[in-house]
Symmetry: C5
Subunit: 401 residues, 5 copies
């Protein structure tokens, strides 16, 4: 039994297809998420006041205790005191206290006091919409915020906050959901000869940051796949509805993704500038690697943004092409038949061969009385049509483009 792995394991990132998405809800390009965040903010409250957001999940507590020889995992939900007791009894082990869900204010306050967290930082944890950042306590402990991303079937970047506090021999993490993207890390801890278990607990904080960073790539790959699908949809005979909405929507997502990753990069850059006594050089080598990854993720996002803006151009040009096609059909039909209609109208005129007094009027439409009149008119009309068709063919209007 493994009480630590997330109960319903997170589904792998998969790009939602065009076919699924419409059923999944209306496609809005406006940033409802942003509006929601704006609305959550408490106005005029004392800074550092703890508020549990409505609908927050009941906290579950997980503990992994390990060193290079042993590794024990257990769930301590509703047994917070046992957890503290366990920590006290095993100062020789490294501990990962993993809190999932915020829905219990007293527990949150006990955690804050027992682990010496600042109310403003605890507020940041619960507020749950913080940019990635790092803060250093006076006693060299660290508070880090990372944002875990996911590209959901609703075509939305879903981002959850992972708050990390480090201590001398423990790492304390908070997240508001039971599922997360950290299972690969749990597997690595369990592995017998894992480097993770040999390094100090500060390395675990790094590993958490790194796993979150690694997860940006599947998110981006899902977006990339979706962009390719959109490109194909533009030229499809049957375009999906509101295609431009979809394009602008995914653009919004990419822009949002960039805005998530920028602070992440800045955070790591700040870590690299920390003095040796807070962040030893041996760990910084790893953060330097993470920094490269963050830069690459930003590069990818730039790439995608360029792609999407090209998509918009393509869409609009294709739009105008389709309009052109409509116009061409209209022009061809009109241009062919309007002169013909004139000709047949011409010979539908009623000019008379005799006036009211019976005088013969030789100049009034003698064609109508010619034996070959009708066939000749038909022939002339055929000639006109032929000439026009040839002209249109030369212009390339009969073929596509």
């Amino acid at each position: 039994m493994n009480p630590l792995s997330s109960s319903s394991s997170a589904a792998p990132n998969r790009s939602p297809t065009l076919a699924e998405a419409p059923g999944a809800g209306p496609i809005s390009i406006t940033d409802r998420e942003a509006t929601r965040q704006a609305r959550y903010q408490q106005v005029g409250q004392r800074p550092g006041t703890l508020n549990i957001r409505e609908g927050a999940l009941k906290p579950r507590l997980f503990l992994v205790s390990y060193n290079d020889e042993v590794c024990a995992e257990d769930e301590y939900t509703d047994r917070y005191d046992d957890l503290l007791e366990h920590l006290r009894q095993h100062p020789e082990l490294k501990h990962w206290i993993d809190v999932r869900g915020y829905g219990d204010l007293p527990l949150m306050e006990r955690l804050m006091q027992d682990f010496g967290l600042h109310p403003l930082q605890m507020e940041d944890v619960l507020n749950d919409y913080q940019r990635a950042k790092i803060e250093v306590f006076d006693d060299h402990r660290l508070f880090m915020v990372s944002r875990m991303t996911d590209f959901t079937a609703l075509l939305e970047i879903d981002d959850d906050q992972l708050s990390i506090f480090t201590g001398p021999n423990y790492v304390l993490t908070f997240q508001d959901d039971y599922d997360d993207c950290l299972d690969t890390l749990r597997v690595r801890i369990r592995a017998n000869f894992s480097t993770l278990r040999r390094h100090p607990s500060l390395y675990l904080a790094y590993a958490l940051t790194d796993v979150v960073l690694d997860h940006y790539y599947p998110t981006m790959a899902a977006i990339g796949d979706y962009i390719e699908e959109l490109e194909e949809a533009i030229f499809a005979d049957k375009r999906p509805r509101r295609l431009l909405n979809r394009i602008l929507r995914i653009k919004k997502d990419v822009v949002r993704f960039r805005r998530l990753v920028y602070p992440e990069r800045d955070k790591i850059a700040e870590i690299l500038r920390l003095p040796e006594e807070i962040m030893p050089e041996t760990l910084k080598i790893f953060y330097r690697d993470a920094y490269d990854h963050a830069i690459q993720a930003l590069d990818l996002a730039e790439s995608y943004r360029d792609n999407i803006s090209s998509l918009t151009d393509l869409y609009l040009s294709d739009q105008s092409n389709r309009m052109n096609e409509v116009m061409k059909v209209l022009t061809i039909i009109s241009t062919i038949f309007i002169p013909l209609s004139f000709v047949v109208g011409l010979y539908g005129m009623n000019f008379q061969r005799h006036d009211d007094h019976g005088h013969f009027l030789a100049f009034n439409m003698p064609e109508l009385y010619s034996p070959w009149g009708y066939p000749m008119v038909l022939g002339i009309m055929a000639l006109v049509v032929g000439t026009q068709l040839y002209y249109f063919y030369r212009k390339g209007w009969l073929t596509n483009r």
Copy 2:
């Protein structure tokens, strides 16, 4: 009785709806506010000359005196001397002198002298359009300007200036309106065990800045709601009038909001760089939190700006879609009937079966004398129409994209 709360309490921020707004006045995208500001500036006056803007309200004076044990509030309008006397008698208390309305030049000059304010700063207070900023007096007192925002029913960002002077045991604030967004703060002062009452008066200045900052979120939320409404309106059958105006108008608002918040962020960054003796580290922790909030407000504004630019794209694309629809109707009708008209014109020609001499002309329109001529022509026309409809159906012109 509570003399300090604003007489007519400010209505909560609510997004004006599309339905209301038009009645509220013409929708102009030009920045009349900016033009008005440009016009207010006095040309060539000696800097530091105090000018009371026309129509300024009569000043009302409010005083809150508090420490961790007592808290007394009173209105001192027209009793400025009593107020000074009260301040002199209670050096052990912290005081918040709250001046609302500028319409009394002598009073303003007395305040300037009694509290040792620089004429240029007093001019900034009365001028009433200053970017957020902080200035430090030689004696370590501070002068801070914040801008309080509101999203009015007129779809305008309304921003009022809050000028804050700090002293050893008092905070002196100026604003030009009787209503403000500081009531939540007044409630916190009255609360018995408020942190606010334990901290020195400098903390009150922070709290004022923070409350103003907090109020940016409802403003943004109102704008966000309005943007969503606009998006829906684009695709509505009956678009509201001058929809693009509205979109560009709200864009202007967001841009203006960003321009309000940028100096606010810079102000706080400057506060964080102040030396310890002016701004103690214990307060800076709170400002660091406020800094995060300012950054987030800017992030939100960025988000909205992207959304609005996407809205413009959508609007224009929808515009062109509607045009396409018109063209398609024209094309379908023309393409169907123009050939038919030719056919019926053809058989309306008057080619004769006999020439002027009575000779029989066998080639002239024998169809007209065939027993099945008319039904066959009708049949042919039905066939042509059928073929065309099938072609249009395949092209997808009969359905809506």
Copy 3:
């Protein structure tokens, strides 16, 4: 008598109206001013060579001598030696030597030598197109360039150069026009208890800079008014001619204004960084205020630029709306009458009831021989029209969006 005030006092800034402007000349969006400047530059000349631009006005010399007790003004045009004598006799006074017009090379060279100006700086004065800047002499004297702006009836930003040299007890200014925007300052000098008269002459240099800066606001207000007028013109039934030209033209002006103000801001920022012995702290307080003003002028210019770019969007969208309207009229008329024309053409066919042999052809257009044929056809056509009108009404094509 007041010999110092400009002979024909500068008209107050007033926004040229749409009605006036066209008569005032062709509306060009290209920057002829820039091209002209480019052409003025002398190629390959020794730097520091003085050149009097063709058409330069004959210099007029004005002198204001003042201290906190006395204030004397006089015009010394053509009496340069008297002026020097006067300066020598009154070392206890502060002097403002005001040179208007450059059209006298020997005088310019005498001024250069008598006041110890560098040839390169004198060249800058006469060249008359310099960005705002400040240069410090070795002996701590200053050379400052400001640009005075005006929004002319030709819809052009007119900018003149004000060159300022400071000395121990004098300020020497150059400008190429007899009119200027400094009259308000002259009034302040004459005023009995003016601060200006108590401060050292360096303060006069500040006051000149500040007055120029203040004049940016009326210029901006005039532009703002004109932008509002343009917005209204977009939706007017009778648009003025070449409306887009006008919009792009005013955009050019705003861009140019920004380019004027940026160096002004940088100049003041540089002044603020000057060491105490060159620029005392007591004066810097005033420059700090001027700096705020420059920032605000830039803010305004940003605002306007955004507005104008929105105007362009509106213009183009309205353009396309008008096109749509044309298309709709065409579509409605065509769609209604084309089917009707078919019907009437149908019954204009000449299918015969009897063939050449007199046989009765019962199927050939029996409708023509029915007693109610004509009324029924009229009725059917009325029905078709009614249906179509209803359809268009539902689509909203009969009303204006």
Copy 4:
């Protein structure tokens, strides 16, 4: 025999022509490469874990040993131990160990240990998508990454990674392909009096970097040629299909190229800042030259980007021109024939000369009974057509623009 030159020598860069490209595959503007990279990233793995990408080629080992007198080359594929032995025996020579292909994990790990490479760096080598960068070992050895570019017939920038490790008397390079662009360098080594052979091995690392940099120019030239071809295609009578796709595609390539070169430039700038003991001044002179080249390559890329954006404008304008032409044809035909059709319809009306009772109706269409009626109508129609044609000619609608 020369075992070191690449088996199938890389074809010279040649711009793919418009004619070839379509056959080469679909033209996608989305950055599939980016998506692929995003997908390659291993999620949650321990940093520094070596992974051999699927399909990696079997490594081939080449060695060039040289000093200013001798130069020996040999292939050591599958003879790694011999290679090590050779290195040990010849400490007096400079060595270039050239590893092509990664498909052998044990060999890679032996190389890592034998040459003292850091696992994270080795991971960067194998990961094969790293931005250009430089890292300095504690013992002053260098790790450099360069990206070799090629513009393939698929209209894609193909970029391969060249990883360079320097040691006291050797340079160790890794690349994943057997072909490369370094043959010119191999020729220079073989040349008898080559500077390369006199300089220390660090110069070889420079030369490698420089050759890669030099190869950017043919890539750019190929892109430049292709852009010119595209411009001609825009105005061609028969545009290739999906021309806008091609334009946007090449834009993507240029943008990607810039993103490749920027880090290259930064890398060189970082090298220039290295202390003397790591990078001697005599070598820096050469890097300064390389820096100029990198800047110029960026300049070129900027140029191309501007060109491509102009191409897009041209394409869209030409698109709209073609639409205009269609409209003009429609207008000319309709405008000429619609009035004529009215005239002939007019005289096709059946107003009778006698009513039901045989009364003569003199006003009903007397024209039909006039002897010159028909010729006159024909004449009038000719006049109308003539007038219209003249009007169109004046408008310039009959000629092209």
Copy 5:
């Protein structure tokens, strides 16, 4: 006789007119120059290898020797040894050795050795496409690159490189053409009391830089004139062909010009930062003036870029206006005649007054048998036309906008 002035003196900059330009060659917007440069780069060569570009002119050598008393000029083409001898004999004079044309590799190598130039710098000279830059030798000599511009009749910015080496008492310049823009400088040297002759030879290097900078203005003025011409062409009845090409082409030129001037500005800024012993303060004053000029040239280029982007907007809007006009003509003609055609068609129907059995059918088109039928129909049609014309007039469709 004056052997130094360029044989065929450079024609003054003159804006090519629209009329000339087309004959001068096809108007391409792509940057063929850039592609050519990209192609010139030698791949994989040893850095510092001298290559003479194909078609390089045979070098001509000119020498000006001067001090404040004497000034001698001579041409030393093919007499390089005499030149060296002359230099050796006159160490008391300042010398300007002016090399025009590179087409003689041995001579170039002798120059390199005799004047102690670095091979990399000599390569820069011959390579002939270098950004403006400055490099300082160890012995404080300078190597400067300037770019001389010209706006040719082909609508292209033509830029040649001027490479300047300074020595203790000489200046050595290289350029690849016999003509240049330095004649004004030669005239100044010959002038008797020229400042140039009194200053040390380093001043000559400044003067050369300054003359090149001065020449940017005529180039810009020519571009400015051309832009004005383009603006007029947009609204001309007969637009020149491919007008948008021309606009985009000139945009490319301006962008290229900016890219030329930016490094020039940076170069001068770098000169201003040189230590006193390399660049004395007395010379820096002049460079400060040159810096102002460079900034102004950039300002001008910015102005032009804005203008051109406005031109593009105007062009596209005018394009769409012309389309609108076409549509309006179509609409007016169609709308007037389509209803009329219906009416005349109506009365062309053949409904009979008697059925097959001779019964009178009173309802079938009695209008045809009315005595005033025809005049009334004509009257009704005139009324319809009148109403429509009035409607169109009100809409403003009959007038131009």
